[in-house]
């Protein structure tokens, strides 16, 4: 939470040469070699790396979320850059193993560190960093916290390369990115998983990148609004996609069936918290009981359900 001092003008492209917060002024020399991330071609020209269902630690170096890229005739768009500079470098190597077209866009589906800390690896490509209009403000409030958490989890050496890259292209509502014979439709959503969720639809293959609006297998985290998330899932169900790339889970899955588990879980949280509140129960009572029977269905459930119930409790008592 330190360092209020040195904000560079975020609009300027030149900001990419600098950094957001002064405390992150470290050298960022790319490693000489990085192992390419294993990626899976879920549709022609659409490549996904599936992150592990773990918390960030020194062994996985933040490789805990899905990330990938879409290749057009003229250019490549990265969609989420991975949970560390190292993962970002490895993703870049994977791209280079498949195409030599320029990387023109790095799309961040939202603010969470496991999706954006790889951005720094793409600075040499001078891409546009594309994000929801709220992302920059959200990161300003959390960036230093994320950096410290990363340092604690992965270590000082890896953290030294961490930079928060401000978006150069903010999406207020909708945006089309033309990769050459291939158009990506970006959509900015109102508060749901976070207050800056952005989805990407590849028109050619009807592949929807949902970011963390879709968790599969791994317990979701509510960092926005549980009611907003349920509403957004309703709207997303109408997106004419054949398959979806979740923020966490398998590389791809049929849409909209893939959202069934998440909808059920979020519904249980809302229902359960409302019951506790109707009986004048406390947050701790809610944490101990709500959605408990969902435990066997999700990885890392014990780490995220208490937090989700707490957040939902604070949200729902204003209904």
């Amino acid at each position: 939470m330190a360092a209020a001092a040195t904000f560079l003008r975020p609009s300027a492209r030149a900001a990419l040469a600098g950094v957001w917060l002064s405390v992150w002024l470290f050298g960022a020399a790319a490693p000489a070699t990085a192992d390419p991330l294993p990626v899976f071609e879920v549709a022609p020209g659409v490549f996904v790396h599936a992150g592990r269902h773990e918390e960030t630690d020194a062994t996985n170096a933040g490789d805990i979320a899905n990330c990938g890229f879409v290749v057009g005739d003229d250019a490549v768009a990265v969609i989420d850059s991975g949970g560390s500079p190292i993962v970002g470098h490895r993703l870049r190597e994977a791209i280079r193993a498949h195409t030599d077209r320029p990387i023109r866009y790095v799309v961040n589906t939202h603010m969470h560190p496991d999706h954006i800390l790889g951005n720094v690896a793409f600075l040499p490509d001078q891409p546009d960093f594309v994000a929801h209009g709220n992302l920059q403000a959200a990161l300003a409030a959390r960036g230093e916290h994320y950096r410290q958490a990363f340092d604690a989890a992965v270590g000082a050496a890896a953290a030294a390369e961490v930079r928060i890259i401000p978006p150069t292209l903010a999406v207020a509502d909708r945006l089309e990115l033309d990769l050459g014979g291939r158009v990506l439709d970006l959509a900015a959503w109102s508060v749901a998983h976070s207050d800056n969720d952005l989805t990407v639809l590849d028109r050619r293959t009807k592949t929807l990148w949902a970011g963390d609006l879709l968790f599969m297998e791994r317990a979701p985290a509510i960092d926005g609004s549980v009611l907003g998330w349920l509403r957004t899932l309703d709207a997303l169900a109408a997106v004419p996609a054949a398959r979806v790339v979740p923020g966490h889970g398998p590389p791809s899955s049929p849409w909209p069936d893939a959202a069934a588990d998440l909808r059920r879980y979020l519904g249980r949280v809302v229902e359960g918290v409302r019951e506790v509140q109707a009986a004048h129960g406390t947050i701790q009572q809610a944490v101990d009981t709500v959605a408990a029977d969902e435990a066997p269905r999700w990885r890392l459930f014990e780490s995220y359900n208490p937090r989700n119930v707490t957040a939902a409790f604070a949200e729902l008592e204003w209904e």
């Binding site: 405390v23 410290q148 958490a149 989890a153 204003w318």
Partner: protein
């Protein structure tokens, strides 16, 4: 700056109106635990020159061992005044936060036991400290260590736009069955973003100044029930559970003022069943 957990040297000192920021350097650390070192600093800052004793049974503090959500950490403090000793106030401190003093609760009825529930923002692994003031001028301290939650749980607003739209709205939650003369627990909620001064306004490229609920005065039939002084370590939409002894007919009045001088007021009638 190679070990950010120990060395925080770049805190902005001027950003927050009326809030004291701590600059703590880990250099030259000696044998004492980091928590105790930090406490020494806080004690000098908030209770300069006074002795602070262990609280013993007069004061207890409940906090989760791990903060499930860093923005909403539920805390409970309970006072147990003894014969001849009143507990007139409790200070609640989040040791490692940039503005550690979260709130001070002043009890007009220091001779009777008081229970307060509230919610705090927790920045990092930290001690949470409660310090009671007694009518005979003693300071009594108790602490609980709280582990911060995972990497993507930050002590920040979840929905910045909504927090502003709803600012100043209040809610009072009462038990279903209220009996005259019997203490009840009520919950007061005040909608307010409680800006920390660390949130960034993207449109205008500046840090939104700290803007938070500063005082809350709770009155029942004109008599003081609880007075609260609070700061940015309180969660957004501050929540306070407090106790009250109702009469058959009564009115609860709440006046809150924020750091911009905005005053919010609301009243609720409370009807109780006859106690006999």
């Amino acid at each position: 700056m190679t070990t950010p957990h120990r060395t925080i040297s770049t805190l902005s000192v001027t950003a927050l109106a009326g809030a004291a920021w701590l600059c703590l350097s880990g250099a030259g650390a000696l044998a004492a635990s980091p928590q105790e070192e930090r406490w020494d600093l806080l004690r000098d800052m908030y209770f300069s020159g006074r002795t602070v004793e262990d609280a013993g049974p007069l004061l207890s503090l409940e906090a989760p061992k791990r903060a499930n959500d860093a923005a909403v950490v539920p805390i409970r403090i309970v006072t147990a005044p003894g014969s001849g000793v009143q507990v007139t106030a409790v200070h609640l401190i989040v040791d490692e936060n940039p503005v550690p003093m979260a709130a001070t609760f002043r009890f007009p009825h220091g001779d009777s036991p008081q229970a307060i529930d509230t919610r705090l923002r927790v920045n990092a692994y930290t001690n949470i400290t409660a310090v009671a003031e007694t009518s005979d001028g003693r300071l009594l301290r108790t602490t609980q260590f709280v582990k911060a939650s995972g990497g993507c749980s930050a002590p920040a607003l979840k929905n910045a736009q909504l927090a502003v739209a709803r600012m100043g709205k209040m809610k009072l939650n009462l038990p279903d069955n209220i009996v005259a003369g019997k203490p009840l627990t009520a919950q007061l909620l005040i909608s307010h973003p409680n800006y920390t001064g660390m949130q960034y306004d993207q449109l205008n490229h500046y840090f939104i100044p700290a803007h938070y609920v500063k005082t809350v005065a709770i009155r029942y039939n004109g008599a003081p029930v609880l007075d609260v002084q609070s700061d940015i370590s309180m969660s957004e939409d501050p929540s306070i559970h407090f106790s009250l002894v109702p009469e058959e007919q009564g009115t609860l009045d709440v006046t809150a003022e924020d750091s911009n001088g905005r005053v919010f007021q609301e009243s609720w009638p409370i009807r109780a069943n006859s106690g006999s």
